[in-house]
């Protein structure tokens, strides 16, 4: 079976996010004065073959933990959909 996975990788709470803070500082000059707490993470999409949605889910989670993210500084959430 064929699945599409969407992985949202975000900086863990309490971890500094310089990119987000820099964007936040830039926004008022562009006229966006009511924006705050900007955090930038990653969005990874991929396709995967597996026997079932559960297998696909755990495969992608494993990939996340071992390879795509470092759990020490990032949180990841995985969403798998059959196509």
């Amino acid at each position: 079976m064929h699945f599409e996975a969407k992985i949202e990788v975000s900086p863990r709470d309490g971890i500094a996010n310089p990119e987000g803070s820099t964007i936040e500082r830039a926004l008022p000059a562009l006229g966006f004065k009511t924006t705050h707490n900007v955090r930038v993470g990653k969005l990874i999409r991929l396709e995967v073959e597996a026997e079932s949605v559960d297998v696909a889910q755990s495969l992608v989670e494993d990939m996340c933990n071992r390879f795509l993210t470092n759990p020490v500084i990032e949180d990841a959430s995985v969403e798998v959909l059959e196509v």
Binding site: P11, R12, D13, G14, I15, A16, N17, P18, S21, T22, R25, N65, R66, F67, T69, N70, P71, V72, I73
Partner: protein, 743 residues
Amino acid sequence: MSAAPEDASVHRALGLSDEEYQEIYRLLGRHPNHLELAMYSVMWSEHCSYKSSKVHLKRLPTEAPWVLVGPGENAGVIDVGDDIAVAIRIESHNHPSAIEPYQGAATGVGGILRDIFTMGARPIAVMDPLRFGPLDDPRSRWIAEGVISGVSGYGNSVGVPTVGGEIVFDETYKGNPLVNVLAMGVLPTERLVLGKASGVGNLAILLGSATGRDGIGGVSVLASSGFDEKSNDADKRPSVQVGDPFEEKRLLEACLELLEEGLVSGIQDLGGAGITCATSETASRGGAGMDVDVSAIHSREEGMEPFELMTSESQERMLAIVEPRHLERVLHISAQWEITASVIGRVTGTGQLRVLDSFDGEVLAELPASTLHDDAPEYKRPMSPPSDLAERRQSDASLGPVNCVEDLLSLLCDPSWVYSQYDHQLFLNTVVGPGNDGTLLRLRHPSTGEETGRGLALSTDGNHRWCYVDPREGTKMVVAEAVMNIACVGAHPLAVVNCLNFGNPEHPEVMWQLSEAVDGMSEACVAFNAPVVGGNVSLYNETNTIDIAPTPVIGVLGMHPALSDPPPTVDLPSDSLLVLLGQEPASNVSMGGSRWAWEIGGCKDGVLPEFDLDEAVRTASFVASSVQKLSLKAVHDIGEGGLAVALAEMAIRSGIGAKLNDYDNHISMFNESGGRVLVVVGNNDLDDFLEAASAEEVTAKVIGQTGGSLLEFGPTVEISVDALIAASESQLPDALGQGTVSA
């Protein structure tokens, strides 16, 4: 009142021993509160206090007429003439890099740069001696890739070129990589400022990033409910700091501008132990005291407690001591560079460091500032050589399966995969960049840009194999190698910095290794007339109680006195003569500590080849002056992998081969007898050259001719230069192409 604390679990959880608690009690004349305990615990940590190593470091030679600032300040400072001073420092970021390689390395670069611009110098060069577990281990590859991207990501962005370093892979660093970073900067001599707070009523201004809960490490236990069990609360606190090179760049420019305008009377970077360290260090250096208002510290998170604010190691922050009349201008310059600046302290005349909740609010902590440093414990830890040392020294390291051609191929590794990821040209100074022996930079005046016609040379070197076999002789040889590297670009040494990467100091063998290394370093530095102006000690480098092989890393700064043309390179030219400088080892030279013995022969024991330090001193000086005279067609020192690897590296660079007569056995090819250099001279220049060498009492011997497309070590060992090139170039990309995993 009794000296016993109400609850001994608190100080123990903070890493303070019962004896250390007693000492705090004695210094204060009362029991410390939790905040005070936290401050002592961070300042008396191994990392900040050097309590295990101090007693040994005192034996290093640190003085010379050109040394303006020796060890003890943020960086060593050397007078290089023409009203220019050079600040230099090396530091380790080993443990953070093992957990989060990218950020560990990035924040390592950031930290060392602050040490340099704290002295008023503009950082112009970084070097990154790196050591990782073996390439066939996916996690070690993950660490290596992450660290290299971290150095690249931070260093390039902050705008300081990374002009050299080292890359070593070995089993001993599996689980415990060594990430050392050296930085060098230049300043107009008159701008030199020290991290000193004086003048009662002067203000302490915190510049840069907001303070977060990152890097509060061990003291985070204070926030949890119990001290005996591991709470998940502490787990949630980020132990990892994230570097922000853009903040650092603005901070750097702002600080240099403040210094240029003479607006600060003292300045100090925030590193280990954060605000506690910066405030107490500046105060005690200036013989003053300080009141710190924790409520004025700009923080990144809400509800941070005083102990968190006082010990956080958040990156990209500086503390400037400013007279009140300059405050407005300081705030203006900070605003221009979009740097947050908060007045968090006032210099007092009491000698006390007081932490207050607003300047006229509650006193949260009060202690004599100098006790955090001057009264830190100093240990003479037990030391003894390994019990099996004598036996180990009996081993014959030359035994093993020998295949000279294959062995040579396996010992080659082109590091350009690493350094091509680093901007190594910024500031238009790089005459000889990474990929050669030493790095050579044009020396220009930092304010006027005026050329001096001279050059600064840098090299970093370490060799855990030599130092494992014999830490004293090994360290001597490492210093000699570093000096030889800068000699190869025409420089003589001015000063040394060192990073002592060792195992667990509670193991007597480790303390013995450290002590031996210090003595070896001292002897070599005296011989080369290169004082030690700074360093860093990193202990507890171990995995599952196995200590790393001792790895002192030496950084050497040198001077090229007359730099008008590029010096000869490593590239082998054709139709010339190969000359070996330095003592040719006897036929029964030991292979102990060689890369061949460790990686191919499978023997880590034995003894090092005999090493003649005096001859190495003469050879280095002869090489430097020959390079300056441009009388050589190529030059390369012999280091790990011995003569065969050095010659192969030269052939690889130009695609040209060479023919030797009698080096076709593994001992003569791969032995690592120290103090030797390969040079290439034209046929017509040979007589003059040999005469000059003999006048300087330097051993010189013609060992072959250059040319052709083969490297021939004698009748039985030959290999095509193309094969050498292929093996060398593919080593890193192939290995790293196998993929990496973080867990």
